[in-house]
């Protein structure tokens, strides 16, 4: 057992962990932070993506001991009260269906937009290729990311680009 300390979603935890324990299992089984799901065992799907020191990392590809001393943000700690613009955009643009890939997809997006605040569609598609979704065909995810990027840049969304939830005509001016 090895003593590790990490700050997860604003709370410091100290635990004795097996050196082989994956961070993702530590988060889920050790700390009860089950908002981070596991979708594969080969680091392909990205469902378990978290932010470590602000960088997106697949938490199945990191040992808990490697995260000693780190500050980790999971989907459960991304926002406090008001949703993060990326969370809002995913709902607004129907960028999720079953939602299993969504925590990873959102956190990977947060990192993507930090590094590239004005991505093109092509850059979004390539920037998220480490996160697999089986439901959406990605088109609405791409739309959500572009829309969140615009909002985070402080720009008005392009006219006609949103179909507002409460707009019966389906398109707002």
């Amino acid at each position: 057992m090895t003593r590790v300390s990490m700050k997860v979603d604003g709370v410091v935890y100290e635990d004795d962990v097996e050196p082989r324990r994956l961070l993702t299992h530590h988060l889920r089984d050790g700390l009860g932070r089950v908002g981070t799901p596991i979708g594969c065992d080969t680091s392909n799907c990205g469902a378990c993506t978290v932010l470590i020191g602000g960088e997106s990392v697949k938490s199945c590809s990191v040992l808990a001991v490697q995260a000693d001393g780190e500050e980790i943000t999971t989907i459960q700690g991304l926002s406090d009260g008001d949703w993060h613009p990326v969370q809002k955009a995913f709902q607004q643009h129907h960028g999720l269906q079953c939602g299993y890939c969504t925590p990873g997809m959102i956190l990977a997006t947060v990192d993507l937009l930090k590094n590239n605040p004005s991505p093109t569609e092509e850059e979004v598609r390539h920037g998220l290729e480490g996160n697999l979704c089986r439901c959406t065909g990605y088109q609405n995810i791409v739309k959500a990311v572009l829309s969140a990027a615009a909002e985070m840049r402080g720009e008005q969304p392009h006219p006609g680009s949103f179909r507002d939830a409460d707009d019966k005509t389906g398109v707002s001016a």
Binding site: G39, G99, R125, L132, Q139
Partner: protein
Amino acid sequence: MTEELDAGMLATEIAEHPDALSAPYGGGELGRGRRRKEDAKLVTGQTNWTDNITLPGLLHMAVLRSPMAHARIVSVDVSAALEMPGVIAAYSGADLAAEDGALPCAWPVTPDMVHPDHKPLAVDEVRHVGDGVAVVIARDRYTAADALEAISVEYDQLPAVVDMEAALAEGSPLVHSDKGTNKCFTWPFAAGDDYEATRAKADVVVTRRFRQQRVLPTAMEPRGVVVAPIAAADEYTVYSATQIPHILRVMLALVTGIGEHKIRVIAPDVGGGFGSKLNVYAEEVLALVVARKLGRPIKWTESRSEGYQATIHGRDQIQDIEVSATKDGKLLGLKVELLADMGAYLQLVTPGVPILGAFMFPSIYKMDSYTFSCTGVFTTKTPTDAYRGAGRPEATYAIERIMDELAAELGMDPLELRRRNWIKHEEFPFDSICGLTYDSGNYEAATAKAEQMFDMTALRREQAERRERKDPIQLGIGISTFTEMCGLAPSRVLGSLSYGAGGWEAAQIRMLPTGKVEVVSGATPHGQGHHTSWSQIVADALGVPFEDVEVITGDTDSSPKGMDTYGSRSLVVGGVAIHKATGKVIEKARRIAAHLLEAAEGDVEFHGGTFSVKGSPEAKLSIQEIALATFAAHNLPDGMEPTLDSDYVYDPENFSFPHGTHLCAVEIDTETGFTKIRKYVCVDDIGKIINPVIVEGQVHGGLAQGIAQALYEEAIYDAEGNLTTGTMVDYLIPSAADLPHFDTGRTETPATSNPLGVKGVGEAGTIASTPAVVNAVVDALRPFGINDIDMPASPERVWRLLHPGGQRREASGTVAYGGVSTSTTSGGAA
């Protein structure tokens, strides 16, 4: 640049969604792009996946699986595992054989179908890689995984059976030696004129052999199960990542002998299914049996690689198809002979999947004769079962591929060939040659709209130019006009096909005293957005706010009756059940309103949530006021039950028949074999729309899975029966970078077989897109003398076809339409 691109993309989106612009209908909620109620928990990580469930004293189960495709089990020794710290129990198949029953198959398609025993853990013989051999129960998942290593199993290897045709040949090794054959069943069907006589009249006969490769459904959430026992009372709560909690409850009772009334099944939040969670699995039974033995809660969660061996696979057919036609392109007859790989055992509906497809090969076309036969074959592979579309994608692929081949043979434009043969809009309702009554459709309208969105003329021109100049990048255009049968299903039809259950769906509306509404539905969502759509249906019918409706699903205690979610049935059957239940609520409320308003019941009108008396508009009561008055029950009509709550179990009278036209343009780099989708246009007619945003998402996701089958995915077994694509590293699930932007449109021809006019949308994209893409690939390659390609059309496959023996083929110039051959052609590279 960025701005231009983004704005362009979004503007295109809007321009191509005129339906989203149209006014909603009904009470104002239907057709409205509501954002989903489901999303709040999903975007914040507050979801209740099965693997998130923890219980006091929870133990973890792990399954030891066969590393061999076929072997006799000589011995299983779990003693070393039992000595490990933290290991509570370990059982071989023999240890549990008296308790774990056999896994069910609910679809004996023929009376003489071979139905082998399917134990949750193998006892004497393993029959596919991944077949369970033993289980370990330990205090945590790491200890359980370690303990698997300590179990020693001695195998006596037997020959693998991998190839379906070889499996049927005389002298083949047998998957189930006690059955004396690898043939599971042969299911014949014929309709219309005698096929051979029809064929004799044909000018042109085209035959092809198509392969539906095996694919891995890969819902993003792996399967999992948690069983919480109250051992003293022999009562169990089973949490499972399943599409079918209601069916699972019945089946678990039948398999284990535990009373159905002592089993509660809960499907918590379920992360996708696509058919892979439409089953009764070994691990569900094992967790229940072990929890019963130990009196302690048990959890099992599959790893992805484990799931690739232990969760059902999809497709896997060899399709021999022959079409005969006149030189004018009039279809005369269609003959289909299928071999369908069952895998090693029959899961819940394994043999029924190709039979569902049998009715869809004639698709939207008129013909004089149709003959079909399907033979199910056992192999030493993971069982197949329903995967998104279940039989209809396979059928649609074969007919749409061979329509393109017939067009090429006739020198006719492939769209023109389809036009000459499809059912015209004025001919509906139309009895298909298979005896299905297509209630509505308008293939002309959907195709015209798709052609316009696609800009066919410009793309054909570019194609001709690229061919002319022998451009290394060749353009191909693929067409798929399709229909499917949704809304599984009229119970009587299922009965006539020997299916073991009905096709109805249950709904209940509960009016709470404060005017809020609870809707209980037997349809069980796993990503589709039922809670949002059902809220819209109820809000629309009852005139209550969307936000005041709560939908309850997925728990056999709170939603006790249901047939669950698959086959694009939820809206068409479950949604209609809800709609009909609201009608009963309104009629009860009307009686109470009349009583309170002192009016004749016939004079009380209901509109927008308010009951009023004809001619005296000031005399009115809201449905919420009626709900409160019913709760108080101080002043109700004599003899009336004090409740507005209403149930409806809806059994559809017919299937629904969504249809559409999909057009795909691909660019193929003839030097690398790489295929890029340049443009994808689909126009789907799914009847009336409840929520256009959700519909759009369903279409996109369906397209992605159909395109994935065409270009990327294949589960490959080697000659020894090893799954060589057994992890996500080896099995290519497309990412955002691999898929194109989809241009989607709709036409709206309401279904006439249900009061909502809806048809279902869950599988349309998957069914239509695979042939559209492959037709495009073949169209690009046809000048090189290539007239078929196996799926997935990977760069390697394309390159090898273009470079037989390493020598590059030369294009024979342009392929002009015109000229008629009377020869019989068969597929492959000429």
